[in-house]
Structure formats: C-alpha cells, structure tokens
Amino acid sequence: MNRPDRGELRRQRGVSLWVFLPLVAFVALAVLLASGLGRNPEELPSNLVGKPLPAFQLPSLLGERTITPASLRDQNWKLLNVWATWCPTCYVEHPYLLQLAARGIPIIGLNYKDETDAARDYLANLGNPYSEVVVDHDGQLGLDLGVYGAPETFLLNPEGRVVLRHAGDLNERVWEEKFQPILDQARTGGEQ
C-alpha cells in the first residue's frame, strides 16, 4: 500500500520538475542574451585598450620576413585588420579596405587561421590593401588579441598602442562613426 503511493508521488514530482525545465533553460538563455546586449560585442574588452600589441614573432605572407610588433612601428596611425579566406564577411569588406588603402591609410593584415596559398590567391585576385600581412596560422596572436571571428579591425596609434577595436565588417558608416572621429581628434590635438 505504502510503496506504490511513494512511487506515484515520485512520478508526479518527476513530471512537475520536467515541465519547469524549459522555462529555466529559457531564462538562462535570456540572461545570456541580455548580457550580450549590454556588452555590445563590437567593443573591445577594455583590458587591451591603451596597451601595445602582444608580443609575437610571425612570418609575413608577402615575403620571406619575420614580423614583430617592433618591425611594424613607424609613427603612423594604422589599422590592423583580421581576415581570412574562409570568412564570408571579409569578401564583403574587402573593397572598402582597398578604398581606405587608396586614401593612404596604412593597413596591416592579420591572416587568421588560414591556408597560406589560399590567402595569397585571395590577395592576387581581389587586390591587396595591406602594406604587410602577418601570418597567424595557428591563431595564437588572434587568441592573444581576443579575436573571436573575422573580420575584426584594430586602430593602432603612432606608439603602436590599441585605441579601438571593431568586430564585424568595416564600411563607410562604421568608419565615419568610430574611426574618423578619433583620427580627427588626434590631428587637431597634434596641432595645438
């Protein structure tokens, strides 16, 4: 008499726990999404802003050179653009990078977790906006930079420090809204 009752009870409790599970899972998901809203993935985790690039020693895609942060320093504002041939958005972004390069803005490429030959073909076919391309075949530098995908673009000041990070494609709107104001401010600040 006693035993079936307890079994019945347990079964009932099992059912009621189960029906709350989807709600709990959804609440967790909503919290995650809300944190994503606040966080805005296009902003850099603040620990890199103001810091120089992490140390690295990696080959160049364009020649038989080894690149280090020091070899990239030349007193210019420049962009560091993370790209790869496997990245669809990079193809969309590419023409705009060519425009920026044509305007005289130096762009360093970071070829991220890519096939070197495919990357060379990509530049040969679509044009090369980069003054130098760092080959990050294993993605170690990308990891140090906190890259979670491609494309991403970092703005480096003349001292080689990171000023801004933009995740996602670079286009005219993003340039006007985020990059240009910093460059304008730097120019007027320099004149004073």
Binding site: L37, W86, P88, N125
Partner: protein
C-alpha cells in the same frame, strides 16, 4: 500623404490587435458569446489595416517619396521598379512591416478556415496571435516606423538599395522565409490556446497540423532560396556558411521538423502531447530569437544589413514575454497532459521520439554554435566557431537521423516485431554495394563519411520505394490501383523523405568532389577545370540602368565540343560606388560551372575564379522536393473533412 495613411493604418492595426488580444479572450472565460464573435471581424480589420500600410509603403517607393527616411535609405530614382518594390522589405523597418502584415494575414486566414473548429478554441488562437501582433506593432511604431519623415532636410535622391539585394532571388526570399517564421505563430497560438483550455486531444493536433506543415514548407523554400542566393550572388560559390543569420532560420526549421513529426504522433496516437506543445512553443520562440539575433546587433553577420543594438532590448523583452509567458503556462499546465495508452520500446512512436531527439540535438548544436561568441565573452573565453564545429556534429546527426527514419517509417504504431523489420532492412546491402561503387567511381577520393552518406541516401530512397510498393500491393488490387489508394499524407511523407536523400547526396558529392581554380587570364587565354575548357574570349563594358559593368565572355567546351558561353560581370553601382561580382553560372542537373571575375590585374588580365561543382543543384532540388512532400501531405482529404465531435476521432 501615402505615408500618413500608412502610419495611421499601423495605429488602427495596433488598436484592432489590442482589442483582439483582450476582449474575445475574456469573452471565452466569462462565456459571453457576443464578445467571442468579435474575434474574427477584428482579425479581418487588423489584416486590412496592415494591407493598407504595406500598400502605402509600396506606393511611396513607387513615386520615389524620398522625404520618407526609410524610402530614402533603401531606394534611388534610378533603381528599377521591381527592386523599388522589393525594397519594401530591403531594410529593418520594412521587413518588420512585412512580418506584421503576414502575421495579420495568417490570423485572418485562421479565422476564415476554421469553421469546423469549436468557437472558443478559434477565439483563443486568434487572441494569442493578436497578442503577438500587439508586440510587433508596438515595436514598429515606437522604435522602427517605416513611415518616419526626414522633414525638413530631406534628400533629393535616395541612397539606393544595397546592391547585394538587387536581385530577383531577394524579391522572393524574405517573403518566403517570413511566411515560414510567422506561420509558426499559428502553431504557437494553437499550443497556447490548448494549454489555456487544458484540452489537447487528437482533434487539437489535427487542427494545428496543416498550419504547421504549410509554415514548414514556406520556411524550407525560404532557406533553400537564401542558400541559392548566397551561392550565385555573393560570388564565392559556397552554399552554406553557418552564418548567424542562416543559423537563425535553420533553428526554427529543425525544431519545426520535429514538431511536424510529433504532431503526427499526437494526432494518431494521442501521445507526446506535452512534448508537442513544448515543441510548438520552442519553434516559434526560435523564430523570434532569429529576429532578435539578426536585428539586435548582438552578433555580426554578412547578411545582417541593418542591425541596431538599441532595438535588441525591445525584441528581447518581447521574446521574454512571449516565450517566457508560454513556458510558464506550460509549466503550470503540462503536468496534467500525460498521455494515455502506452507503446513498446520497438514501435513507430519510439523511432519518432528518437527522430525528435536527434532534431532537437541538432537545433541545440546550432544554437550553441551561434551563441558561443556571446557565451565565450560572458565566461571570458575567446573562441571562433566555424564550419568544422558544425560539421563535426551535423554530419553524424544527419546520418543518425536517416538511420532512424527508415525503421521508423516501416514500423507499426504501438509495437513492432523485430524480425520482419530486420528482414526489410536488408535493403542496406544492395544500397551499400551501389553507393560504395558510386563513391569509388567519382573523381577524387571519397572519405568514408562521404561514402556512408551516399549509401544511406540510397538506402533511404530504396526503403521508401519498397514501402510504397508493399503498401500498394497490400490492397490486393494490383500495383497501380493500389498506388492510387495511398493517402496524400503518406505520399507526402515518402516524397519529403526522398527529398532529404537528394539533399544529402548533393551535399556529399559537392563537398568532396568540387574543383576550384583561381587563375590569371587575359582575353585569348584558356583554363582547364573539372574536364572543361574555358576560353576567355573577350571583355566588354556594357552600361546597366544604375550601374556600369565589365563583362567577360567565356567559351566553354569539353572534348572539343562547345558546351556553353558564360558572361561573368563586375558591376559598379553609381549611387553607392559599391562593386559587385555577378558570377556566370551554367547549371545542369549533374554539375554547375561557375565563373566569376576577381580583380583586374592590369594589362587586360583578370583574376578569374572557375569552379566545377558536381550535383550542387541537388541541394536546392532536395529542399524543394521536401517542401513538395509537405504540400502533398497538406492536400490530404482528411484535413478538409469537417469534424463533428472531438471525441469521435480516434485513429
């Protein structure tokens, strides 16, 4: 003027949906018939107001009213008329209007086509859909009004439609996709209505089923169109990128596929009822989540043309109300829904449950892959999720799904004896032989997962053909008379399952056997790809309506015989200065030839990309066949037969 009419119509629609969401529902609970009778006319009023709004927006595009911000941002006086009209859903505000219009359309249709359903049930479904409409209309009116004027500083000419969207595929793709997304709102409405009423009997499943199937068909076609568009318009020849926006449409599809199958069990066997309701809630919530992901800016994507983080909060709040509310209701009511009647471990029910679990696991894989950047950020782990992750889970899950489909489709309800089933599964042997032979015959090596996929695809087709013949012969009236007796639902299932086989074969062959070459070519040069000879004959500079073009002319031949001529283009759009690649594609059933112009390399030379893609078309063909299967199942006479009592139907 049109803009004001449109704007006003949106307010009328909001008022109608508010009243629809509240009063008829109160009418049901208080038993006031008069209040319930308002539900259908209110649904119609809402639909007419939304139609007026979308017509007003279309007219504004037609007359190039650039004083409307949305029109100015998405059109241009030089834009051809067809694209000016498709620009209605070319951006965020307009695509929301399309969403709302379709939701209103589905709501009105449910009101129209449910004469056989008891009134309180219809009223509840319409009210729930009205609640969803309230959310969307408020979202539109308060954050994303397509009729906002840019007065007094309006532009003389528009900024033009994103050239990526200036394509016939993009005229039909979003409406198809949205019909699917929004269509699942009906299933959701039925689920919530059923929970409210506490009644989820087989009759309930039968009402919800055709609506779910039709939404699923639209979504299937929509996803296939999107994949096809990416393939020919983006210019790098891929057909699926596991991009967040693609994932956003795949998740409700996977959950919706599970829902269709679980509805079948609910209807036929009065089982899985809580599970079915949960799936209906999950499926529509994933549709909303997709909208959130695409429009919130939380994730960046190549397809997310207009995202704005400030709108994300609204959609998230809406998602919390809709999905959270429904799941709470589920938690409170589902405990009473445990099914009657059991089934053995070896039965059709078990296999369908397995199918549901596999599909849900696949949904979960996509969800995790899509949200991992967020999750990683929250936990401070830096990762990038790409196709290897998805393939690692998706390939085995698909193969497992096929392995469950065949015995499931062959098994009886309640219980299935093991021996006859195993005997019928012997089809695996010839399928394996032919599949292995085919795999070996294809150029290049086929790794074992590829061969296994081909074998299973063949197995799937053979097993279904075998089943069709057996069932037809079971009538003892000869094969053809027997075939005619099979129900449309059954034939639809067979067709849809074969569509999956076609799709799997296409994915397998093109993934392992495509050839891609990037070559530097000048007029007169020749390249050989995949056994075809491509001659770059000449280059011209035609002028389009709103763009300038450079157009290559290629002669393609094989073994000395001409095959086709191909004209890839590089277009520069005047208004935006954006450069677009228009690939030339020669598509046949068994292979696509794909030529795209890269960059000019000077000296008349071009970087040219040439692809040979065997059976790539099977991917979209397979999806269309699946949708056709759904449409056949929909046309089953059973759904048009009026039903009397609820209790009378028990299959």
């Amino acid at each position: 003027m049109a803009a004001e009419i449109g704007h006003l119509s949106l307010w009328v629609a909001l008022a109608a949906s508010l009243v629809l969401a509240i009063f008829p529902l109160i009418g049901v609970h208080r038993g006031v018939l008069a209040w319930q009778r308002y539900a259908r006319p209110l649904a119609w009023l809402q639909w007419m107001a939304m139609t007026a709004a979308i017509v007003a927006l279309g007219y504004s595009f037609y007359i190039n009213d650039f004083s409307i911000t949305y029109v100015a941002n998405h059109s241009n006086s030089e834009l051809p008329l067809g694209y000016r009209l498709s620009a209605i859903w070319g951006g965020h505000e307009g695509s929301l209007l399309l969403w709302g219009w379709m939701l209103a359309g589905w709501t009105a249709l449910v009101g129209l086509l449910s004469r056989s359903v008891p009134l309180p049930m219809v009223v509840r479904v319409l009210s729930v859909m009205g609640m969803i409409a309230v959310g969307f209309l408020a979202f539109m009116l308060f954050t994303s009004n397509p009729f906002d004027r840019a007065l007094p500083w309006f532009v003389i000419d528009g900024a033009d439609l994103n050239p990526l969207l200036q394509d016939p595929g993009l005229i039909v793709h979003p409406p198809m996709l949205y019909m699917g997304y929004v269509g699942f709102a009906v299933a959701f409405g039925f689920a919530v209505a059923g929970l409210l009423e506490g009644n989820l009997d087989p009759a309930w499943a039968r009402w919800a089923r055709p609506w779910t199937t039709v939404a699923w068909c639209f979504l299937t076609v929509g996803i296939a169109l999107g994949s096809w568009w990416a393939y020919y318009e983006l210019g790098w020849g891929g057909w699926w990128f596991w991009d967040p926006v693609e994932n956003a449409s795949l998740m409700p599809w996977l959950a919706g596929t599970a829902l269709i199958h679980s509805l079948a069990v609910s209807e036929k066997r009065n089982l899985f009822r809580a599970w079915t309701v949960l799936l209906a809630i999950i499926t529509f919530s994933l549709s909303l989540l997709g909208t959130f992901l695409v429009r919130s800016g939380v994730l960046t994507s190549v397809h997310a043309f207009a995202n704005d983080p400030s709108r994300g909060a609204f959609i998230l709040a809406f998602l919390v109300v809709v999905a959270g509310g429904a799941l709470t209701l589920f938690a409170l009511r589902a405990g009473r829904l445990s099914g009657q009647g059991g089934f053995k471990a070896m039965s059709r029910e078990s296999f369908l449950l397995g199918n549901n679990l596999v599909l849900l696991a696949a949904t979960f894989v996509v969800l995790m892959g899509t949200l991992f950047p967020l999750l990683g950020e929250a936990m401070d782990i830096k990762v990038s999720i790409r196709s290897p992750y998805f393939n690692a889970f998706f390939v085995p899950l698909t193969l497992l799904l096929i392995l469950l489909m065949v015995p499931g489709m062959m098994s009886n309800w309640k219980r299935q004896a093991g021996k006859p089933l195993v005997r019928r599964l012997l089809w695996l042997a010839p399928a394996a032989l032919i599949g292995g032979w085919l795999g070996a015959r294809l150029p290049g090596a086929t790794p074992w997962p590829g061969t296994l996929a081909l074998i299973l695809a063949l197995f799937l087709v053979f097993a279904h053909l075998d089943d069709v013949v057996r069932r037809a012969l079971a009538y003892n009236q000869g094969l053809f008379a027997g075939l005619r007796k099979l129900t449309r639902s059954y034939i639809g299932m067979v067709v849809a399952h074969c569509g999956l086989a076609v799709l799997v074969a296409g994915v397998t062959v093109v993934s392992f056997h495509e050839t891609e070459r990037d070559v530097r070519m000048r007029p007169g040069d020749v390249a050989e790809v995949g056994g075809y000879r491509f001659e770059f004959e000449s280059l011209s500079d035609p002028v389009g309506p709103n763009y300038q073009s450079q157009k290559g002319h290629f002669l393609v031949s094989r073994d000395g015989r001409p095959v086709t001529e191909m004209n890839p283009e590089k277009r520069t759009y005047r208004a935006s200065g954006q450069v677009m690649t228009e690939a030339a594609i020669d598509g046949r059933l068994m292979r696509d030839l794909y030529v795209a112009l890269g960059e000019p390399l000077g000296d008349d030379a071009w970087a040219v990309r040439i692809y040979h893609k065997p059976m790539v078309r099977w991917i979209w063909l397979g999806a269309l066949v699946m949708a056709l299967g759904g449409a056949l199942a929909l046309s089953d006479r059973r759904y048009r037969k009026p039903m009397g009592g609820v209790a009378g139907e028990q299959a």
